[in-house]
Each structure stands twice: as structure tokens, then as C-alpha cells.
């Protein structure tokens, strides 16, 4: 297995923390969190509590164990350049149409092979474990990448809470469908709703993050409001957005992109520079925000997280199980 070198951090590449923290401290200071959320099209009711408390929630401490030497992608690019086909296939469509998504009230139903199935509302989930900030690389299957400060907690915290049975081998995530807010649902590109899934050990891995916010704020719709998963060693499409259902299953679920093009998108979809997509190489990637004439960067096995996750796939032929 390729070893991943954790590069030393050149001072020039570290994002000034003030810049990063500025907005959320502004939110907290001014107590305008609720109004801010309203402006973002999430609806003022989306604020989880009084502004001061909300500010504290979203001002979660950064977990330095996940810091990267790469400069984070700008908030603007992170929130306006997205693949979220329910809103349309254009990269700007999710930000353009996302405001119409109704995220209040929001419930997530937990079903299948669990001892404690049930329906959680967003506040239950937000309080289930403390939020932390983690900076993750995101590698899209389309060979572009970003570096994103997510806010969330390990998916394992939720999974433990619902007590999967011994028969639970996979976890399936279903994305919301709101036809009135999501013009992309009219196209038949995917057999809606969007479904993604993980093997249990993948879902329980400490890197698997249940995400509620980005850049110190609640997730915008384009990024999967109000909650999504982030799986930094897999291509982005594995990370289901705007989750309304989490189902534990015995059999491997048929995920959305596998249904569309099984020869192009596998169940595992681990970032792998050695397995090209039929229509492009995966050996390199374009870092979003690097500039028009910046050279492409080398893609790392498991997107640079090989040390943490390679053992999950020991003995598997990663060319076959792509």
C-alpha cells in the first residue's frame, strides 16, 4: 500500500485563522445568527435555539488531528460549485435553487436492522454528540478537489445510539425529494430518491463524519442542508446529502450511480489514482480555486487517508471493487 507522507506545513499555505473565524464570531457578537440563517434561505425557524446558543454550537472547536497543510477552498467556491442533481446538473444550480429547500421541520428516520429504530428530529441529532470542526479533502469523481472545514461528529456516534443488530452489514442513506424546491427531480437522470450506502465498518470508521455545518455555519442547501455525511477517502458522490432516511441492511444496497452506470461507478468508490474512470484519468486532480493556470495535482490513494482506511480493504482487489 502506498504510504502517505504528511507534508510539513509551509507558513504561506496556512489560512489565517482570523479570516476563517471572522464570520462566525461576527455572528455570535451581533447575535444575528437567526437573521443570517434566514438570509441564507434556510428560514429563520431553522435556528436551533436563541442566537447566543446557536453561535456557540456552530463555533465548535477545530479538531487539530485532521488539520491539513492544504489551504481550505474559499467558502464561496465550497458553497456555489456543487454537484447536487436534484437541483439541476449545472454546478451553480444547487446554490441557485437551494433557497427553496424546506429544512424546517426536518426528521431522519432510522430503519432496518437496528434495536432502536425511530425518527429523530434535527435538534435531537444536533445534541447527540458535540460538534467539532474537521478539515477534510474532498475529491470529486470528476477529478476536481476541494479542502473543506466541516462541522459535525462521527457517524459512529449516531450508529451506536440506534444499536445495529448483528445482521446489519450495510448502512443506506436516502436524500430528500422536494419536487417543489428541486427542479432536477423532473429529469430522469437518476431514479430518485438519491441513495448511497456504506459497509458497516466504513460507516463506523472515525473518519466518517455526520455533517451539520461548513465554515462555522449551518450547511447551505447546496452542500446538503441540514445534514449529510462526509467520507473524505471516497469520491464525493458517496457522501449523501440532505439525509431523510438511514436504513441498516443485510444486503448491499443498490446505490444510485451504480444503477445508472455500473461500469463507471462502483459501490466502494474509494479515491484511487490507479483506476481510471472510463472517460478520464483519476491520476491527477484540479484543485478548485488554485487559479486558471495552476497545474493539476497528483491524486493520492484514498485521497491521502490511506494510513487510516487502507486496512478496511485489505485483501480486496481494488481494481475490481472500484
Amino acid at each position: 500500500m502506498t504510504r502517505v507522507r504528511i507534508p510539513a506545513i509551509p507558513a504561506s499555505q496556512i489560512t489565517p485563522e482570523e479570516v476563517w473565524r471572522e464570520r462566525r464570531s461576527w455572528l455570535k457578537r451581533s447575535g444575528l445568527a437567526a437573521a443570517g440563517l434566514g438570509l441564507m434561505g434556510l428560514g429563520a425557524g431553522r435556528a436551533v435555539a436563541a442566537p447566543a446558543e446557536a453561535g456557540k454550537l456552530w463555533n465548535a472547536a477545530r479538531n487539530p488531528a485532521y488539520d491539513l497543510s492544504d489551504a481550505p477552498t474559499s467558502e464561496r467556491d465550497v458553497t456555489t460549485y456543487n454537484n447536487y442533481y436534484e437541483f439541476g446538473t449545472g454546478k451553480a444550480d444547487p446554490a441557485r435553487h437551494g433557497g427553496a429547500l424546506k429544512t424546517e421541520p426536518w426528521t431522519v428516520s432510522v430503519e432496518g436492522e437496528v434495536a432502536r429504530p425511530g425518527t429523530f428530529d434535527l435538534d435531537d441529532l444536533l445534541r447527540l454528540a458535540p460538534l467539532e470542526e474537521r478539515v477534510y479533502r474532498l475529491r470529486c469523481v470528476e477529478a476536481w478537489s476541494m479542502v473543506i472545514p466541516w462541522l459535525g461528529y462521527p457517524l459512529a456516534s449516531l450508529i451506536r445510539k440506534v444499536e445495529p443488530t448483528g445482521d446489519a452489514k450495510f448502512v443506506e442513506f436516502t436524500t430528500v425529494t422536494q419536487p417543489e424546491a428541486m427542479p432536477g427531480l423532473r429529469s430522469r437522470i437518476i431514479d430518485w430518491p438519491y441513495v448511497e450506502a456504506l459497509r458497516m465498518d466504513e460507516a463506523m470508521h472515525p473518519l466518517s463524519l455526520l455533517v451539520f455545518g461548513v465554515y462555522g455555519k449551518p450547511l447551505p442547501s447546496a452542500n446538503g442542508a441540514p445534514l449529510r455525511v462526509a467520507l473524505p477517502w471516497k469520491y464525493g458522490f458517496k457522501s449523501g446529502k440532505s439525509i431523510v432516511k438511514i436504513r441498516f441492511t443485510r444486503e448491499q444496497p443498490l446505490t444510485s450511480w451504480m444503477k445508472v452506470a455500473p461500469q463507471e461507478y462502483g459501490f466502494y468508490a474509494n479515491v484511487n489514482p490507479d483506476v481510471p474512470h472510463p472517460r478520464w484519468s483519476q491520476a491527477t486532480e484540479r484543485r478548485i480555486g488554485a487559479g486558471v493556470f495552476a497545474p493539476r495535482e497528483k491524486t493520492l490513494p484514498f485521497n491521502g487517508y490511506a494510513e487510516q482506511v487502507a486496512s478496511l480493504y485489505q485483501g480486496m482487489d481494488l481494481r475490481r471493487y472500484f
Partner: protein, 209 residues
């Protein structure tokens, strides 16, 4: 045909109109520059420019292939005077599309480009369309026309297979995402422009090129 009662435009009249058409054809390139200065080339400018140049190459190809049917149905043979310019714009946007791929996708490395061509049918098909188009652009001058004589027409009829290859190339790119709406739109327009060429010629403007 009512259209044939319109007085045919003279070469001079078309000559007035041609610079305007030239400026219109520069619109996509001007727009890219404008967007570039505004920071409006999306978060992924290389992808935007590669895709946009490909689309505009298709638009220019449609316009080029529309000249002959327009001459016939408008009864305006002098429109022929715009065709070479439109063809060269098709080549211009296609060439930018290819250069964008070569630079941003393949780092201008010839072995890397070759790998992409042999490994990926949609790239190979794009190249198959580009090679004859390059020959057409080079031989678009009066000098080459007289030098090649009848063979010039044969070479330039390659625009029909080029059109088919272009739509095929576009279709293959969109195939994985199952997203064919635009492909069908361009395919339908180009298909129609090719089909009308097979219709019997009638009326006085029926001088086939």
C-alpha cells in the same frame, strides 16, 4: 416559393453584413474575457472554458451548415460569401476546445495526450473530427482552392462526417451522466441541416454548391 420573389442580395450588400457577423461570432470569446476579468468563470475555470468552447464550436458548426439551406430557401445565393468565415470560426472554437484539453487536462504532454486518445473513445472521436477540420482550415484560401481543384470540394465535404462525429463525441461525454437533453438538441439541428441537403432542389436559387 414566396421567398424567391425577394430580390437577391448583391455581393456588396452581403459585404456590409459580414463584419457584423464577424463581431457576433466573436461574442463567445469576448464573453470569456469579460467573465475572466470579473472572476465569473465559475470555481473551475478550465472545465468551464473547455465545455464552453466545445458548445460554441457546435453552434458555429450549425451556422456554417445552415448557409447552404438558407441560400436555397431564402433565395439568396450571395450568402455563400459568409460561409468560409463561419467555417473558420467553427475551427477557431474547436481549436480552443482542443487546446484547452491539451493544456488543462493533459499538461501539454504529447505522451499524455496520446494515452488519452487511445484509451478513451470519446477523445479519439473528437480527434477524428478535428484532423479533417484542420485540413479544411488550412485549405480555406483561394490559392488552395485552385491548387486542389475538384479535390477541394471532396475535402470540404468532410464537414458532414465531422458534424456526425462531433455529436457522437458530445453524446459519449454526456452518456455516463445520462444527461442527453442538449445532445439531442444539437443532434436534431445538425441532423435537420444535413437532411435538407438530400431534398430535391427546386426554384431558381437551386444552384448547389
Amino acid at each position: 416559393m414566396a421567398a424567391s420573389q425577394v430580390r437577391p442580395w448583391t455581393a456588396r450588400q452581403v459585404g456590409f453584413f459580414k463584419p457584423l457577423l464577424f463581431i457576433v461570432c466573436l461574442y463567445p470569446a469576448m464573453r470569456w474575457l469579460w467573465l475572466g476579468f470579473q472572476g465569473g468563470l465559475t470555481a473551475n475555470p478550465p472545465e468551464f472554458l473547455i465545455r464552453s468552447s466545445g458548445i460554441w464550436a457546435l453552434v458555429a458548426l450549425c451556422l456554417t451548415l445552415a448557409v447552404t439551406p438558407l441560400r436555397r430557401y431564402l433565395g439568396q445565393p450571395a450568402l455563400l460569401r459568409c460561409r468560409r468565415m463561419l467555417g473558420l470560426f467553427t475551427f477557431f472554437y474547436s481549436a480552443l476546445h482542443v487546446l484547452g484539453w491539451a493544456y488543462w487536462e493533459r499538461g501539454l504532454s504529447l505522451p499524455a495526450m496520446w494515452d488519452d486518445i487511445v484509451q478513451r473513445p470519446f477523445i479519439a472521436i473528437g480527434v477524428l473530427a478535428m484532423v479533417p477540420m484542420l485540413a479544411q482550415a488550412v485549405t480555406s484560401t483561394r490559392g488552395w482552392m485552385s491548387r486542389l481543384g475538384a479535390r477541394w470540394h471532396t475535402l470540404h465535404r468532410a464537414i458532414y462526417p465531422i458534424a456526425i462525429l462531433s455529436v457522437w463525441h458530445f453524446w459519449l461525454i454526456r452518456a455516463g451522466k445520462n444527461d442527453f437533453a442538449e445532445v439531442y438538441a444539437y443532434g436534431a439541428v445538425l441532423g435537420l441541416l444535413l437532411l435538407v441537403r438530400l431534398m430535391p432542389v427546386q426554384g431558381r436559387s437551386g444552384n448547389r454548391p
